[in-house]
Amino acid sequence: MNNIEQNAYSYLRTTKKFPNIWCSGCSIGIVMGALIRAIDRMGLDKNEVALVSGIGCTGRMPVYLDFNTMHTTHGRALAFATGLKLAKPELKVIVIMGDGDALAIGGNHFIHAARRNIDLTAIVLNNEIYGMTGGQYSPTTPLEMRATTAPYGHIEPPFPICELAIAAGATYVARSTVYHAVELDKYIEQAIRKVGFSLVEAVGYCHTTFGRLNKMGSAVEMMRHLKNVSISLSAAEKLTPEERSSKIVRGVLRDIEKPDYSTLYEQVIERAKASVTGKEFLRAGPGGLE
């Protein structure tokens, strides 16, 4: 850990207004710290990394980080990042989204980016509510929890983010909480190294809206709650499905090898170049010209 903390400050735009905009004790700052540590440990240059975000509290993160950054429209961070990755495949493109941004507004982009298996690192910060707009329920708000738009308890089941990404075809899927910040930066590092669509779900909290509406206390109490309800993957395997449903399971849920979109796209370009004309290539069919 020597000097990592001190080096981390070189990745910040200290000319921007610090302290940051987030509420006192907000979990987004912890994820930002984990991301900086992961990039610092990999020894990546600032110019090698592109950070893309959408709208929301989490969308403010690229404002403070000194990489190639893009602050895009609501839910479309993955769509912008796909274009960026295709234009500049040498960049390490990291997409940081909130739960509402990734799964409600950008739900289709999320499943199709995973299906295409494009080499992006998606970090979804799941705080189970729309924090910035005043606490409306999001696709990951758990059953029976309160939100300003569900004052008598939420009646919809939540989206399981990791399971959705696995089903859609992501190559690396991991989940951790902000209480386990060191584990979180380890997963983010593995996700950046992985070639293919990789997802890290960072389970955070929003004590300002979710905590207040559900009487869960301050940031300290919500952090304690995360510590108590989260268990590792090996411990979860010993539990019955009913017991597991109330827990947050931490760990690497999927890690497979699959050719990513950029590699396949390059092969298509080579195949097209090898053919004399495009028409000939099309006539040859899917097997190519050989």
Partner: protein, 91 residues
């Protein structure tokens, strides 16, 4: 191994008294960036940090620090740095 010998080895492995133990880290807080969220004070395992009268944390017991890095990895405002102190006796 019998139970008594197990207990003995456990007691031998206990760290020395806190007052004679050297600190392994130096905690630095940037007061300008801190918002006083209490996370570092509540979760510090060795009570290095405490809350001051102005509702902001300060380093109360610097000698207790074991450089576990809980506070600087979990500070949401990146307002804490723990500088590890190298132990000269261990080379």
């Amino acid at each position: 191994m019998s139970e008594s010998t197990l207990k003995q080895t456990a007691s031998e492995k206990k760290p020395t008294h806190p007052s004679t133990r050297k600190p392994r880290g130096k905690v630095v807080i940037f007061a300008n960036w801190c918002k006083g969220c209490r996370l570092c004070v509540e979760f510090c395992p060795t009570d290095v940090l405490a809350f001051g009268p102005n509702e902001f944390p300060y380093v109360a017991n610097p000698d207790n620090c074991t450089a576990c890095h809980w506070c600087d990895t979990h500070c949401p405002d990146l307002a804490i740095i723990v500088k590890p102190i190298e132990d000269e006796s261990q080379g």
